[in-house]
């Protein structure tokens, strides 16, 4: 150490090297909308996980039949629905359903999107173009009608239509990295394409994969809500915000709480997740902006 310090000028301790993650964090923290979105999302996740602790009954318990359609009050924060169920409980358990479907579908999306995106980036194909002509929501509606809905089906359908964005992000990254020297070196040393993709290209695509995962969540939540709204998504009595909005429409003139709370819950959750994902994208890789 002392020998080198004579040749290298002493570096002041205050200007130490910052890691790329530190810069990413700085960029993210400067984005107020993204931080707020992340905060709201975190609160929602905690609420959804602790649903039995923050609510007084089960989501399907018709404990308040005599108070059916009661407006919000100190006892019933979000009122009571038409079937005598505490509406606050329904909304919180709805968050559970929505978030579970969002995360599970996003996981399916990256499972499909990573290999296809890596292959398309490495060999230069355009697998996703076929899918861009078919309007995803229509196709999803047909599939859901065909299978008559259900929790697992919706996750699979959302995954089937959510991978395109992951694929695009991964493809762009792989395309950019496959010309780099270390990949050329690996090729020169005789590594197979499969090995290079697995060992070098996919690990270098971690940030687009994270971004793709987070951005797939609101898409899946929207798809679930849309299908449930049409009555071909999650089946009652499983609480789903889309379904509640559909029912709330029939009551909105006299029992506004039936329409307002699920609408607000869905809008806030989707918005918060999207803002968080957009912020993450801009922070992790500023060059990806606008993909």
């Amino acid at each position: 150490m002392t020998a080198t310090s004579t040749t290298v000028p002493a570096v002041p301790t205050t200007r130490r090297q910052r890691s790329p993650l530190w810069f990413a964090w700085k960029r993210f923290a400067a984005n107020k909308a993204a931080v707020a979105g992340g905060g709201v999302l975190a609160v929602l996740i905690v609420l959804a996980m602790m649903a039995p602790l923050v609510t007084k009954t089960g989501p399907n318990a018709q404990d308040f039949l005599t108070n059916s359609l009661a407006l919000p009050s100190g006892e019933f924060w979000f009122g009571v629905d038409d079937l005598g169920r505490d509406f606050f409980t329904r909304i919180i358990y709805g968050a559970r359903v929505s978030l579970t479907i969002g995360f599970a579908a996003a996981f399916c999306s990256i499972l499909i999107g990573i290999p296809l995106g890596a292959l398309a980036g490495y060999y230069g194909g355009r697998i996703d173009e076929v899918f861009s002509v078919v309007p995803p929501l229509l196709a999803a509606m047909l599939l859901a009608a065909l299978t008559s809905g259900g929790f697992v089906t919706i996750v699979i359908i959302a995954g089937l239509f959510g991978w395109v964005q992951v694929c695009l992000l991964v493809r762009a990254q792989v395309k950019a990295f496959k010309e780099k020297e270390f990949v050329r070196a690996a090729q020169a040393l005789g590594a197979s394409p499969g090995y290079i993709i697995r060992r070098h290209l996919i690990p270098n695509a971690v940030s687009p994969i994270i971004v793709g995962f987070v951005l797939a969540i609101p898409l899946a939540m929207m798809l679930e809500a849309s299908l449930s709204f049409l009555g071909i998504g999650v089946m009652p009595p499983t609480p789903s915000w889309g379904q509640m909005i559909n029912i709330g429409m029939n009551f909105m003139y006299f029992y506004w709480h039936m329409a307002v709370f699920p609408t607000a819950a869905l809008a806030i959750t989707v918005l918060a997740t999207t803002l968080f994902g957009d912020g993450l994208r801009d922070a992790l890789d500023p060059t990806l902006k606008g993909v």
Binding site: V133, V134, L138, M222, Y253, D278
Partner: protein, 310 residues
Amino acid sequence: MIAFILRRLLSIVVTFIVVSIIIFLMMHSIPGGPFDGGEMPLPPAVRERMMAQYGLDQPLYVQYFKYMAGVIRLDFGVPFQAPGETVLSLLADAWLPSLILGGAGVLIGAPLGILLGIAAALNRNTWIDYLASALATLGLTIPVFVTSMILILVFAVWLNWFPASGWPEPNKWVLPIAAYATIPLATYARYTRSAMLDTLNKPFVTVLRAKGLSENRIIYGHVLRNSAIPMVTVFLPMFIGTATGSIFVEAMFRVPGLGSYFVSSIRTRDYVTEMALMLMLTVMFCLAYIISDILYAALNPRIRNGGRKE
């Protein structure tokens, strides 16, 4: 240019045939048929005769060719939900509401979105920019039926300015048109803004400034024109988004349009009507695809000779 359009048309025909086969197969794999009636089951003999009358007992490929032969003559068959009519006569009255509401939504939303995007790009990091970005994000992230719900709650239930639903009085058009307009508005606001900012940072703009051109001439003479190509690219997704959104907007506002039939046909398993609607939508999307390609080629000479858009 003509060769380009012909090449595009050919690829569209192929797409249409592939999509029609897929739709046909999907529709026929939906469990349950029109004569399975749960409440009033038919005697098996009657059921078989009905199936034979509608040709449902023949092999699938025969059914497909018979069906497509009819489609070419605009004969989509007899809808199960209204056996006395044809699909075309059933949907004849449904075109108008969808066309009026969707058309007005696009015609109002797209120019507003473009203006908003330009204003945001020219006033970067001011309240105009933040407002435009907020509107664009809201419009693009929140599903259209939630937007519709918010519009209904605010303007129909609380303020009582407009009726919440119905047809055909024009005062009932306001809210669905507003709901439709959010999709093109948000799409165009976002993409116009980023296209303008992108062009403003190009070296040629610096050159124009160095040459001493007035800021107005730079923006309206050069930057806007060069930002037009990305705006054309957005046309197709915007159109698809609006057309798909019609299903939800019409369901929310109880408008008797094509979107309403789309939902009711799924619910009643009326796959004859459903297929006709899907095929019409496919044709519409294909036409939108061609229009956006032609506009693109007209604006960008590099595309015309077999290049592809990226």
